[in-house]
């Protein structure tokens, strides 16, 4: 039973050069639709429990759109996206953070956004603070934190929210070397517990270490799919694309 299943998924964005209202008038009266931009075209894949899938490709290839679809933040034009379980998107860590609130206050808001209940949040509070290495500063306002401290706090909250499917977007490399090692160990543990990972990154070593499978996206299409090692090497060395490959 796959945790995430994409079945011929196509996602289209329309140019938004004109203001919505005028575009709407032109389209309904003039019967002309704005040129579509294909973010994803006919994408099919499956990821099961305890598996990790790497998504690679150039900027604008459709990687972030793919993760947004898994998170349910946007809907596909055609095809189906099936997701079984609770999704946690580490797309942008600390999206709900506010500089004037203390670390502890931000921690609670973010835990709630990550899907934790009040009781779970209080139970894990100390553990989250300890993992983030912020015990001395947790009651200080967030604006006094360094960028690294903010990311550590957000990351720590996210990995303590038990989601079934984790989306990691360029966010694996957070904090100093020690913190990175610790985070890595934690993510691998979560994988062993049967969580599913979808990773987007431009750092090949990280992807190879975490994921066993990979898909390479180019202009919204999957150009290569297979074992992570092979696909990533092909992408990094810039192997010529075969026309009409899957």
């Amino acid at each position: 039973m796959p945790r995430v299943r994409f079945h011929h998924v196509t996602k289209v964005y329309r140019r938004q050069s004109r203001q919505f209202f005028w575009r709407f008038l032109v389209e309904t009266l003039g019967g002309r639709r704005a040129d579509p931009i294909y973010a994803l075209r006919d994408v099919c894949f499956e990821v099961g429990a305890g598996q990790a899938l790497a998504v690679i490709g150039r900027n604008g290839a459709g990687k972030s759109t793919l993760l947004s679809l898994v998170a349910g933040l946007t809907t596909p034009e055609s095809g189906s996206v099936e997701v079984d379980g609770r999704v946690l998107a580490l797309l942008e860590l600390g999206s709900g953070f506010h500089p004037d609130l203390t670390g502890a206050e931000n921690l609670r808001v973010n835990a709630a956004l990550c899907g934790l209940t009040r009781r779970e949040t209080e139970e894990r509070f100390d553990e989250i603070v300890e993992f983030a290495e912020l015990a001395d500063f947790i009651h200080e306002p967030l604006r006094t934190y360094s960028q690294g401290m903010i990311l550590r706090l957000a990351f720590s909250v996210a990995i303590h929210a038990d989601a079934d499917i984790l989306l990691l977007d360029e966010m694996i490399a957070v904090g100093d070397a020690d913190f990175q090692r610790k985070s890595f160990r934690r993510i691998r543990e979560m994988k062993q517990q049967g969580r599913t990972l979808l990773c987007v990154s431009h750092v090949p070593e990280i992807l190879k270490e975490l994921c066993e499978e990979a898909i390479w996206l180019d202009s919204g299409r999957i150009v290569l799919r297979g074992p992570a090692e092979e696909v990533i090497d092909a992408y990094v060395t810039g192997a010529p694309l075969l026309e009409g490959s899957p």
């Binding site: 998170a71 933040l73 946007t74 809907t75 942008e92 609130l101 009040r118």
Partner: protein, 254 residues
Amino acid sequence: MRLRNTGFLLACLVTRDFKIRYRNMSLGVFWSLLNPLVLMLVLTFVFTKIFPPPGVENFHVVVLSGLIVFSFFSLAWQSGTMSIYGNATLIKRVPMPRELLPVATVLANGLHFLIQIGLLLALALWAGYRVNPFWLLLPAIFGLEVIFVCGLALITSALDVYFRDIRYVVESSTTVLFWLVPIFYSFAMIPPDYRELYQFNPVAAVVLACRAIILESRMPPATLLWKLPLVSLCFLAGGYLLFRRLKRNFADYL
């Protein structure tokens, strides 16, 4: 989507909004009291010394009752309208029930409203009005105003994503309504031809009901008591349905 922690999430969002409004201000939450008090004094000065109204006792309490009901309406509606656009990063990055954002913003304003209601009741008692059994109706009447504004905010916050002009429409509407809600004049001063129109305005209805209870110790008119819940609940239901239709594409348009 995720019902198991919706309550906790809503509580977190409300306290976040409430706390950041006056965080780092030396006077903190006292600003919630100072703003209406200053306006009350100015309006009382203008309308008792410059344009004296025909025989109104305790004009300052009359003005304050209108002011706090109106200022909650206007602030909550305006900030509720901006709540989706203002939290664009959350909408684009975090899977959460989006309805909670405008509702949380309105409820956070509701906490300030609560403080101001306390101020109004204190000033009313000080001016010699007595506690009466109709006070028990006050929570319901103020609660219905909160529900009404939640409905409005759901509608305008969703539309604001697609038409950014909405926020200015809301801003102009509240400016116009300041004059069309009986804040510094009483219902009795309105020429009979126009009274019907006022009956359809829920904010005016809340002002009239709360004046009837606090200043006149009487039951608000019966028509008002069924129109207000009807209009408020219709707005909430309509707002929720419209929001649900429009929220699908929020992430693509922000």
